[in-house]
Amino acid sequence: MNEIAHEQEVVAARGVKVAFGAVRALDGADLVIRAGECVGLVGHNGAGKSTIVNVINGGLTPHEGTISYGGEVAQGITASRAHGVRCVFQELSLCPNLTVAENARVMHSDLTGTGWRKQALALVKQQLSDIFPGHTIDCESVVEDLTIAERQMVEIAISFGAVADRPRLVILDEPTSSLDAGLAGQLMAYVRRFVEAGGSVLLISHILGEILSTSNRIVVMKDGKVVADKPASQFQTRSLVEAMGSVVREQGSDRTARVRTGDAVLSKQLNPRSDSRLEAYAGEIVGLAGLGGHGQTEALLEIYLSANGNWWPTREPKMAFVAGDRGLNGTFSLWSILKNLSVSSLKALSSRSMISDGREAEVGDRWRKRIEIRTPDMDNPILSLSGGNQQKVLFARALVTTSKIVLMDDPMRGVDIGTKQEVYEILRSEASAGRTFIWYSTEMDEIRLCDRVYVFRDGAIAAELVGEEITEANVLAASFAGGVAV
């Protein structure tokens, strides 16, 4: 092994494999970051970007493969911090009730002594004006009083700042998501200066212009593997988008665009700033695509909450919702499978507000057969089921209701392929029976099942694709700012 090459390595992940249940998040990925370079990391949803970041910063232990810091094999958050790895997460991770300087104190445990407040203040001020010259952030104000952009700036400044040992690698996960173009430009310029001075940066962004202009090297991931790893100069926007897509010539939409009949069953303006509306017609499957976290879930929630009252029970709910995050907003973990299935349609299963056990059991039996929930007894606890089967129960919960519209918040994430096929089949038959589905999905295969697709970017609809236009290339191009329609 080459000693010098190893010394230059800040972090090296080799042959890393990570699986969450049936899903292979990382399937033998290699990522080496050397001193003095900025590596751009791009890929579509589920490509494994966040997973490899978590592996590098020590938050996740890979099932296979090695992680080494500066040539030394180690693992864990402490080890990664000790080797100068810092991470600015996509979700903000400051304490909102503390001031900017106090947050620096929390993040840097070596800010000790009686003068720590002054020291922290000087540190953040210095770092902020280094990165964002001309900023107007008051470092003595409480974080919750700052705007979202200012919070992001503070977090970046604290991560680049140092008391004793300087950071060697800073991971920036969508660092410009709330910054305007000017601030984003300042940050990118700082990243280049930081890299020239010998530091390294791992940059993840959906704005391809940033990646192309700032990185020395670009790594493209797909399906848990690195599919391209070349100097940035060898890429252009177009070739980058192509690299993220499938290698094989893909087929277009699996469905032919339906003839729209009657009025839209749903028409909603999502963003007061743009006049694009989200519309859906009876019997249609409408897809919401784009990178994760660009406002699709929020759109679904807004549609659902504005349609369902919170005070009076309704006999015939207009919409039903299929949750994606089962633990957070889907299953009721203390209940049986049957109760989880019937909770949205209790009105129909009862007389005088008393639930009829017989009718409930009958409905449970019918749906267990129809969607093949694999359990000997519907009275077993919901948690006794596998993730895929729990998801089927949530799906059935929505279908049992008389709702004409079903909203789906990426419900098939992490579900095995067999279960998926079964659910798609039911989806098709329910749609042809006249139900409307609005389906947020992070998986390309599912988006292709839709009649019409809205691609989201930065909380707004960036493109509407119909029928044959629904291709991975088009979705990718619309998901990344600066991407061109292929």
Binding site: I77, T78, R81, S93, L94, C95, P96, N97, L98, E102, N103, R105, V106, M107, H108, S109, T112, W116, R117, S141, V142, E144, D145, T147
Partner: protein
């Protein structure tokens, strides 16, 4: 004018205290004297200390329902052991503080709801107090009595004590490193943990400090009343929670203010005197405390809305 949310949080309690005080002076000009002020605020000192204790627990997103019985217990210890054999008394009180720290650890490690654990503890402290003093009695230690009845020049002792309490706890909770970390736990436990701090220790420290201030509350109370009984401070549980909220603190998110808490305690004490000056029957004293609480909370909601609208503009 740009105000920080912390300052806004302090404005309402300070204003309500000022309004109340002005009303009292207007109706009873004689209250505007050394003795008058001392009488008005005398009972505020132990309440302020208990409120600070409750505030420390609330800064890590917990709630202490045993505050009243615990202060009663420490008052009983003060009136008995601390007076007759100080060494044993100090030992008992130190043990009580250690018990608080242990509670903090247990609640965190087992992920228990603090409300229920402290509910259980309230029976335990109450029982211990009854064992110590089955009937009202005991005597205040001389030095405690001396402190609480001291006559400093110009400003009565109740005011001096309140200022000292506010200033020292402000330093401890808002300025010190430890205070920052404790409030950080309340604000975003995950990020404090990710930065490599031990949450268990921070919680234990918060609980221990709360125990310490509650002990001081018991001692101060006995200094005023000269004797104790097992039920002497039962009201303090509710008063201390109300005081923190009045002073701009919140139940979750580590948003607390020691100065506000002391002001809140003073306001609650003054509300009683105010009503008696108004010749409103003492029947409505408790009710007025409730009403003040509601009015202040409504005001705060109103201000927050205003601020949000300002921000969105």
């Amino acid at each position: 004018m740009k105000l920080s949310s912390g300052a806004i949080r302090l404005v309402i309690p300070a204003a309500s205290l000022a309004v109340l005080l002005a009303a009292v002076f207007y109706m009873q000009p004689r209250a505007m004297s050394y003795t008058g002020l001392n009488l008005l605020f005398n009972l505020a000192v132990p309440i302020a200390l208990a409120t600070i204790a409750q505030m420390l627990i609330m800064s890590v997103n917990d709630l202490d329902l045993s505050m009243g019985t615990f202060v009663s217990f420490t008052a009983c210890v003060t009136a008995t052991f601390l007076q007759s054999s100080p060494a044993i008394g100090i030992l008992i009180l130190a043990g009580a503080i250690a018990a608080y720290a242990a509670l903090g650890v247990i609640i965190h490690v087992r992920q228990l709801p603090s409300i229920v654990v402290t509910l259980g503890m309230s029976f335990v402290w109450g029982g211990l107090a009854v064992l110590l003093l089955p009937s009202p009695g005991g005597a205040a230690p001389g030095w405690v009595r001396w402190i609480m009845t001291a006559k400093p020049p110009l400003v009565p002792v109740a005011i001096v004590a309140s200022v000292i309490i506010a200033a020292s706890t402000h330093l401890l909770v808002m300025r010190s490193s430890l205070g920052v970390l404790i409030r950080g736990v309340g604000g975003n436990q995950r990020s404090v943990e990710r930065a490599g701090w031990s949450i268990v220790w921070l919680r234990a420290a918060a609980y221990a400090m709360a125990g310490f201030f509650a002990v001081l509350a018991g001692i101060a109370l006995v200094g005023l009343t000269t004797s104790a009984d097992a039920n002497i401070a039962l009201r303090y549980t509710l008063l201390s929670i109300a005081g923190v909220i009045l002073g701009g603190g919140e139940f979750v998110g580590g948003r607390v203010s020691p100065i506000g808490a002391v002001i809140g305690a003073l306001t609650l004490t003054l509300a009683g005197s105010f009503l008696s000056f108004m010749r409103i029957s003492p029947d409505w004293q408790i009710g007025a405390q409730g009403a003040i609480l509601i009015v202040v909370l409504a005001l705060r909601l109103f201000l927050n809305r205003l601020e949000k609208r300002e921000k969105n503009r």
